[in-house]
């Protein structure tokens, strides 16, 4: 029983470290959630996945009601598609040969999201920097190098862009 408990703890903590980037999304969205009703603060995080986060960052919406409608529409659209296609994937997955390399769609998707999120020259610079840093720190346990790479890149971008300002 102790052994099983330890393996559950290890599996859960590993999964949470892999998902820790969502804490950064939580910080980044905090300003836009400030003028919102409490129920939305509870429901919003439930649909906060990578794609919804990037969509929410493209053109930050200042008007609280518009932002809330936009976020929930995007969030629950992705939630429905996620549920539907996870089920489709479970059924079709075994029939698709691994030699096709369908899993390459994941990095392709994130490159596309990265370009959408890099809608300013300094953001493209930040993205390139983060790619290098992510490679440098790639061997840290449970993909924690991702967080280290992001934090270092953001700090460097702040130092570079604010140099010379008071």
């Amino acid at each position: 029983m102790i052994g099983e408990g330890a393996s559950v703890a290890a599996a859960v903590s590993a999964a949470l470290v892999v998902g820790a980037r969502h804490m950064l999304y939580s910080v980044a969205l905090a300003p836009q959630f400030q003028n919102q009703p409490t129920w939305f603060r509870w429901v919003g995080p439930y649909v906060l996945i990578d794609q919804v986060f990037v969509l929410s960052q493209l053109n930050p919406i200042k008007e609280p009601d518009t932002f809330r409608r936009y976020f929930l529409s995007a969030g629950f659209t992705f939630w429905s598609l996620w549920m539907l296609f996870t089920a489709v994937g479970v059924m079709l997955g075994p029939a698709i040969p691994t030699s096709w390399g369908v899993e390459f769609a994941a990095p392709v998707l994130f490159v596309s999201l990265m370009m959408a999120a890099s809608n300013r020259p300094d953001k493209i610079g930040a993205a390139l920097l983060a790619m290098i840093m992510a490679y440098v720190f790639a061997e840290l346990p449970n993909r924690s190098g991702l967080l280290v790479a992001v934090l270092i890149s953001v700090l460097i971008m702040l130092l570079v862009t604010r140099r010379g300002e008071p």
Binding site: F33, F104, F110, S118, A134
Partner: protein
Amino acid sequence: MILTAIILTGIGSYLMRAFFIFALARYQFPPIMLQALEYVAPTVMAALVVSLLTTPDGELVAGVPEIVGLVGTAIVAKVSGNHILALLTGMTTYWLIGWIM
């Protein structure tokens, strides 16, 4: 035991998403912090791409088909702003080059 792990991961993953939205609900963000937050989306997406292309030992597992496919994806995504088109370009390029090589 697997069910326990799934439930705990689900709760933990919700709490991570909700935590700062609640914790910083009344925080006055200084301008430098707001600028830092603008870099979260591009840097996390970039780091995710590299993370997907490296082994847990930190080794890069991308060959010519992968690199060219991703560069093609980036160009089409930037120029067209269309994710479906970018996805199709990336996958087709990757398959074509893999097939030729």
